[in-house]
């Protein structure tokens, strides 16, 4: 058996414990092939050691918790959308109410009230006018 053949055979071995007689004979006469075999054994030991490690049984709980928390995106996502819409509505309302108070005729309403009040108090009989209003309002009801 040549070294090349030995190396090919080594690469085909499923377990380094199952060494054919031919390979054993070659190894006993070839230091480099013996070394290659030892390294392969180390590789298998390394794999076996890593493979033997067990995952924490709590990982299922962690996975399911993550999945279930992500499962409610509908409910969670509605809130920021509603919050944005609500903020926009409040902003628009604020804008319009501000424009109401800062319109080009700001005191027109106040002036009208003032005129009515002045007319009322300086009229001849303010009390009777007030009574008329009340009586009429009441009768209309």
């Amino acid at each position: 058996m040549t070294c090349k053949e030995f190396n090919n055979q080594l690469a085909l071995l499923q377990q380094p414990g199952e060494v054919p007689r031919e390979m054993e004979v070659h190894m006993s006469n070839c230091v480099s092939c013996m070394e290659a075999f030892e390294k392969t054994k180390l590789l298998f030991d390394f794999v076996a050691e890593e493979k033997a490690k067990k995952i924490s049984p709590f990982v299922t709980t962690r996975i399911m918790a993550q999945i279930e928390s992500a499962e409610k995106p509908g409910k969670v996502m509605v809130r920021p959308v509603l919050a944005s819409v609500f903020s926009l509505v409040v902003l628009l309302m604020g804008f319009f109410s501000a424009s109401l108070f800062t319109s080009s005729e700001p005191s027109s309403l106040a002036d009208t009230s003032e005129v009515i009040a002045t007319d009322y108090f300086f009229s001849d009989n303010p009390g009777s006018q007030l009574e008329d209003i009340w009586l009429n309002t009441y009768s209309y009801e």
Binding site: K39, F46, V47, E50, K51, K53, S56, I63, M64
Partner: protein, 181 residues
Amino acid sequence: MQTTPTDIDLVQQAQEGKTEAFSVLVDRYRQKVFQTCMGFLHNTDDAEDLTQEIFVKAWNALESFDRRAAFSTWLYRISVNKAINQTRRNKLRTFTGINDEVTESGYADEDAENNLMRSEQREQIKNAVSKLKTRQKKAFVLFYYQELSLTEVADVLEMSPKATESLIFRARKKLQGLLSR
């Protein structure tokens, strides 16, 4: 007598939104997925975190699972792809110095020299495995860590069994070469 539900039954229920069914699948495959992650990352904590990510990804992608392959094949395909991405990220982190890897040692009681030698050998093997080509690494991990058959590995990698066999052989030859240096 209660029969054990098959993967197909559980997948169907999970696709209907039943998380309990998916939880059974997680219990069934978590160790296998974890072993795959160990084969790529060689670190228990990282492998556990990645296992978690893989199952969450599988849940999110469950709609796209069309049952052409077995659920396990589909899950292992996600696992190897995610693991490869993670190793790339880790390489980048190591390169930028973010990742200060702590080598695990379960041999604290042994003498220091023996421990050091063992640790060096482990590092050499890890380095050798990391130097395999992506497909070779995937095939190696699926075959040796998960102990899948050649046909199963071929299904996961979407290759013929013959090509898979050759891939594993080349991976082993390359490892032999790298370890003999």
